[in-house]
Symmetry: C2
Subunit: 325 residues, 2 copies
């Protein structure tokens, strides 16, 4: 009789008691650590319990929630728009930097450092409303294709991270993106791609202004430039500006995320720091200590001693992208 | 028989069908307009229906959700902290402006314009973590008392606006504060006072930085100054930075809120603009076109033609503060 009741419970409650919340994560230390942390902060009887209002989780975007190679998707978008504008009107190319971008000459694009990159980005990101910009970015992200995979950029989000975001939200976490990328570029796709609404996206920002046209139409306009850099020391600052309290869970993949994870995990009570280590040359890309994108040195050197969980993409992820590859 | 069933329904469902969502609002045009708007955007069968994710409502704070006379509470707090510090250490008073603030000399405090006010504010708002600042502001707001009412500042929130915030949230709106006041000062009390969490507060911001101490403790610190002014043209900009989309409902009380309401009500579909007119010298304060705080000219001149609802505090509010006066 006891066995029968137990069997009925097993059949009746599969979604509650037995579903794997992270099916694309292989069994291992990373998956176990995530589940143990979530179990601990959501168990009202445990010392590690955290009330739902304090369950804030923050994630970097490039290299953490989607691919960032061979270059940040936002820069690839900016160059595509620049080329399109230059094809229609060659006088768009007012400088050597813009000419280099049009020619696909990476060395020339980088010749003037960040100032040159901002010049390139301003071609698509300035003199436009956030709404029109987001529509343009959304169109590009869902139709343009990645040079090596042939997939749309929007489909190169990581399936295991989608599951982690959903799992945390199911357990009453609020999930935020805290990215060095532009806030409006990410907002263009965040709701569709990750289920994250615009007000839960923190990112770098440019100058923005409000004006009323002669016919009385009020408009907010992106003027370009860079007024806030949401990277490195900027990430905790951006979090305090937009969220107003310290998260308990932070995930990233590069040393640009170091301070965000450092600050998150230094708080009282249970904390979780996660670093995605790009080890998977076969299915995605393998890179860490060198290169111009997603450099990860301090995180690899200090993360383990700080108790941060390093995800080995090749070993810990059963699947990379949602389409099964 | 029919009558009996109807009577039972009346008794069984009083909270659903018959409760007044705005009991402290007197019957009149303002109350009717609010309820008609909310009914319209929440009725799935109506042309005016708005999906819950677009139900964003924004409210100014000083003079809209709580009292702002005889001066912004944040300035009164800054002067109180300055006096306390000067009493303990007179060398705090390094300038004529700070001396004037200590002496309660309003003319002297304003002698250097905004720069002088920032100097005064920096005494309490700089060199402190947001957490410690909020704890100090909370303590002051809940214990210090207003010069003319004798009430704590935290209790001078408007009962009719608390009901409006709750009513909107019950109807699946997200309610935000968008204030010219400092973001951390409002966050200190917003959850307790209004049920608004820190991530739904937009305000003016000062310089903030991240650093790690010699013993390895990471800290976010408020450095003072003013890096973003969330007033007038700044309000739509602050909204786009923090929320990322245009609200459908905006409430304010001064010309500092004009652009926020103008921009909100210029969007497509149903929109609501609300201005609180301080007409109640007996119960609160009466002021509009003149003075240094909460000046309201353009809103009174143009608001009605724009379809904005002007709330006459003396006439439309049955009660001002939660304690019944």
């Amino acid at each position: 009789m006891r066995t029968t009741v137990f069997t009925i419970a097993l059949v009746a409650l599969p979604g509650i008691a037995f579903a794997d919340p992270l099916p694309s994560w292989n069994e291992g230390d990373a998956k176990s650590a995530i589940i143990a942390f979530v179990d601990g902060v959501t168990d009202p009887g445990a010392d590690t319990y955290v009330t739902p209002e304090d369950r804030i989780a923050v994630f970097d975007n490039d290299g953490t929630l989607w691919t960032e190679q061979p270059a940040y998707f936002q820069l690839l978008y900016a160059v595509d728009v620049l080329r399109e504008k230059a094809a229609a009107d060659p006088s768009t190319l007012t400088s050597d930097i813009l000419q280099a971008a049009n020619d696909g000459d990476m060395e020339g694009m980088l010749a003037n450092g960040n100032e040159g990159l901002i010049e390139i980005i301003n071609i698509s990101h300035a003199g436009i409303t956030p709404e029109d910009f987001k529509a343009s970015a959304y169109e590009w992200l869902t139709t343009a294709t990645h040079p090596s995979t042939g997939k749309t950029y929007a489909s190169m989000i990581y399936q295991p991270m989608l599951e982690l975001l959903s799992y945390l939200r199911d357990e009453d976490f609020k999930t935020y993106i805290v990215s060095g990328g532009g806030i409006d570029f990410i907002r263009a796709i965040a709701d569709d791609a990750y289920g994250i609404p615009p007000w839960q996206v923190v990112g770098s920002e440019g100058d923005t202004s409000y004006a009323v046209s002669d016919d009385g139409t009020p408009t907010v306009t992106k003027n370009g430039g860079l007024t806030f850099v949401d990277d490195k020391e900027g990430k905790p600052v951006g979090i305090m500006s937009h969220i107003g309290q310290r998260p308990i869970f932070a995930g990233g993949n590069s040393d640009g995320d170091f301070q965000m994870i450092e600050w998150t995990t230094a708080g009282d009570g249970p904390r979780f720091g996660l670093l995605i280590h790009h080890t998977d040359a076969e299915r995605e890309f393998a890179y860490d200590r060198e290169g111009h994108i997603g450099t990860l040195n301090r995180g690899l050197d200090e993360g383990p001693d700080r108790g941060w969980v390093i995800v080995d993409m090749a070993q810990d992820w059963e699947q990379v992208w949602p389409d099964g590859e």
